[in-house]
């Protein structure tokens, strides 16, 4: 089976690297990174990943707006929100906007992978 393709969206290089490491260590293929919402929408359109991890607070366009637009363009898109504690109401906004699930920072690799695998079980992509 081909590895699942992941797009990482976060304005912090540190977070992107960390998430990249988590996925790479478990056989996922990180196909792209985006540093803000606008880039996320463009990259998603271009790369058609199986999964997108999405930070909430980012410059230019928030993760919530980006999620809304990505899911509108591709209803099968699987977007997992990366939130921080205390952002519960933003997370719920993102869920309303079409996010498939969320993870809470600071996270451990196994938590991220557990959530992602469960979510991908729902929407297998070819």
């Amino acid at each position: 089976m081909a590895p699942k393709r992941v797009l990482i969206v976060d304005d912090a290089v540190f977070m992107r690297n960390m998430i990249r490491d988590i996925f790479s260590s478990d056989g996922f293929e990180v196909v792209g990174e985006a540093a803000h919402g606008i880039e996320a929408i463009e990259k998603h359109k271009e790369l058609k990943p199986d999964l997108t991890t999405m930070d909430i607070v980012m410059p230019y366009k928030s993760g919530i707006e980006a999620t809304r637009e990505i899911v509108r363009a591709d209803p099968k898109a699987v977007v997992v929100i990366c939130s921080a504690l205390g952002q519960e109401s933003l997370v719920m906004e993102a869920i309303e906007a079409g996010a498939a699930d969320f993870i809470v920072k600071p996270f451990r690799a196994e938590d991220v992978l557990a959530v992602v695998k469960k979510v991908l079980g729902e929407k297998p992509k070819v």
């Binding site: 290089v13 540190f14 504690l85 869920i95 600071p106 469960k118 079980g121 729902e122």
Partner: protein, 632 residues
């Protein structure tokens, strides 16, 4: 359905009561939000009543919804008579809802429906839409609703970090399969994370079937399915009395940090009060002592436990402040035309909230310093053979009693020789003293005000706290700061912090030219007395305090400090001593201060009469006196 009747009555009543309040509020101040809120309440009641098969209630709710909707563009038009009408409808519906709880089947209200319809027509100029509530007869044996009606119970696992969004996600997934109603806890509570034991129950009406429900739940992490049971609408014959849903406390609550401070202070006071009781017990006759001591022991154990729990409640993960650092670093670096990445490890380590609050800014400043003065421009890095992107590493470790934070950069490093020269040139230190300093000590010169290797003052670190302020605030917490640097390789700042704080309330006094702290818990009062009020007696001087005579000591003399000169009237602080009260003559009362107590290290811990030291907001160290030992 009868098993849901209690929930329906409770929830619909809540909405109707809120609706009534909103209507009154709307009349006072027309606002679009209030109209929206009205609409939501009416809509909720409609949905619930329809799924319960209570057509007369659903019809009224539907018509109310129409009228409220018509007022959306102009909230002001819902005044006077229209509000009267809506209030009447609300009351009628409330009576109907409560009636169902007592086993009465609601009957249609054609007159009220007609009036609501007329009001809609008068606003919109059109006849109201037909009440398109599904005509369900609750007495029918096989209602359409029953076909795909499930009661779903699930549980959010206790380890879930955000139970609110987790439960909300399940709600959303189930909503995509059909209509969700009778959610317990109510959706608002669910969203807020107020979910007793993580358990949620709801009714789902769906055409998708049981398997689809299982599947939808199966892909949500941190959620366990408890049960899915098909429901059949039952005739409301044996209607139970309304179920009072016990409101269990939420698993977590937010509290203001000041409240935690108060708790800590009170727990501390309790410890002191207990110690005082024990002390009194020692003076009791032998026969009475055991009973009191047993009680005091038990009290002491409880209070200590309480103190520990309060301390525990104050512990917060460092992530609260370090989460912002990567973002801050990125923005700062961009402004300086640099590229930087920040790696943080150990942010899950917990510290007392007060310490976290106190180091958030200093830490940010250290980050700024590193980016501003440490990390070179891309050209400079390339010339030095370093990768273009600068690297900052924040490592947090926990030792037995301390938390150690290390912030390391791979920038240009600090030049001890330049620091030495700058400190001497600015008169901060003599050339001889400078020559004797070790490299590490020399680096700390950067913390002296006005000494810095930075050639320029720029908008990044020219503002806010400087290195000296960082060092001061860390020391005020009872912590320490160390610098290590290698020219051309980078700099490491190490902060060693205590895990918790011990806060003391002090009365600051001046005596013999020194500022000294007296623990307020031991202070009984202060009086100003003329020199003539001091009575000389054979062994010791005494002053009058209230009705008693109290041994009097000149504080400056006790501490072997030079007297400030005689004055006609001076303040006396009366304190509890080992053998009764004692009055201390001081030169001035300077005020009260809350301070973090720092234990004394050798050799100062050997000095009788000193119980600790603290550093005031202005950076000045102040000794805290142990008065009983000082006088004794």
């Amino acid at each position: 359905m009868s098993r849901y009747l209690g929930l329906f009555v409770a929830e619909a009543s809540e909405h109707l009561e809120a609706l009534g309040k909103d209507l009154v509020a709307l009349e006072g101040a027309p606002a679009a939000e209030t109209v929206d809120s009205l609409f939501r309440h009416a809509h909720s009641v409609k949905g619930m009543a329809a799924s319960m098969g209570l057509e007369p209630i659903a019809q009224l709710a539907h018509r109310m919804e129409d009228l409220i909707d018509a007022a959306r563009r102009a909230p002001g038009i819902l005044g006077g008579e229209r509000v009267d009408l809506l209030l009447a409808a609300t009351d009628t519906m409330l009576a109907m809802v409560r009636g169902t709880g007592e086993g009465r089947v609601p009957v249609p209200e054609p007159e009220l429906l007609g009036k609501l319809g007329e009001a809609v027509t008068s606003l919109t100029g059109a006849a109201p839409s037909p009440t398109r509530v599904a005509p369900v007869n609750p007495l029918a044996t096989a209602p359409a609703l029953g076909a795909g009606l499930f009661e779903v119970r699930f549980r959010v696992v206790p380890s879930a970090q955000s139970p609110g969004p987790r439960a909300f996600l399940v709600h959303k997934k189930l909503s995509s399969l059909g209509r969700v109603s009778s959610v317990r806890p109510a959706l608002e509570d669910l969203r807020a994370g107020a979910i007793p034991e993580g358990k949620v129950a709801l009714v789902l009406e769906t055409a998708s079937g049981l398997e689809a429900v299982r599947e939808a739940l199966g892909v949500v992490p941190e959620v366990e399915l408890i049960s899915i049971e098909p429901l059949r609408a039952e005739p409301p014959v044996e209607v139970p009395p309304p179920v009072v849903v016990p409101t269990e406390p939420a698993r977590t609550v937010r509290v203001r940090t000041e409240l935690l401070d108060d708790f800590l202070e009170m727990a501390g006071e309790l410890l002191l009060a207990t110690a005082r009781l024990r002390d009194i017990g020692r003076r009791l006759p032998e026969v009475q002592r055991p009973a009191l001591e047993e009680g005091v022991d038990r009290l002491h154990a409880l209070v200590k436990d309480l103190h520990g729990k309060v301390m525990g409640a104050r512990m917060t993960a460092l992530a609260v402040i370090t989460d912002q650092l990567p973002r801050a670093a990125r923005d700062l670096a961009r402004r300086r035309g640099k590229d930087v990445e920040v790696a943080i490890s150990g942010a899950e380590i917990e510290l007392d909230r007060a310490i976290l609050d106190a180091i958030a800014e200093p830490l940010l400043h250290l980050l700024r310093n590193a980016i501003d003065h440490g990390i070179e421009e891309p050209d400079g890095r390339a010339a030095a053979g370093k990768p273009a992107r600068g690297r900052l590493k924040l490592t947090v470790r926990r030792t037995r009693e301390r938390v150690v934070l290390e912030l390391e950069d791979d920038g240009r490093g600090m030049d001890p020789e330049r620091l030495r020269a700058a400190a001497v040139a600015r008169g901060r230190i003599s050339a001889e003293a400078a020559a004797r300093l070790t490299v590490r000590e020399t680096l700390l010169l950067a913390c002296l005000p006005g000494v810095s290797t930075a050639g320029d003052v720029n908008d990044v670190s020219g503002r806010g706290v400087g290195m000296d302020a960082v060092k001061r605030s860390v020391e005020a917490l009872g912590g320490s700061l160390e610098l290590d640097s290698q020219l051309g390789r980078g700099t490491r700042v190490t902060l060693r912090l205590p895990l918790t704080v011990a806060v003391v309330h002090l009365l600051l006094v001046r005596a013999g030219g020194e500022v000294l702290g007296l623990p307020i818990t031991k202070v009984l009062g202060a009086v100003e007395l003329p020199a003539s009020a001091v009575q000389k007696s054979a062994a010791t001087d005494v002053v009058g305090y209230g009705e008693q005579l109290v041994p009097a000591h000149d504080l400056a003399r006790l501490l072997h400090l030079p007297p400030e000169g005689d004055r006609a009237i001076r303040p006396w602080v009366v304190m509890e001593g080992e053998e009764g009260n004692v009055a201390l003559g001081v030169d001035a009362l300077l005020g009260q201060e809350e301070a973090v107590l720092k234990a004394l290290s050798r050799p100062l811990d050997r000095v009788a009469g000193l119980s600790g030291v603290t550093i005031l907001g202005n950076g000045r160290p102040v000794f805290i006196l142990d008065v009983p030992r000082l006088v004794g």
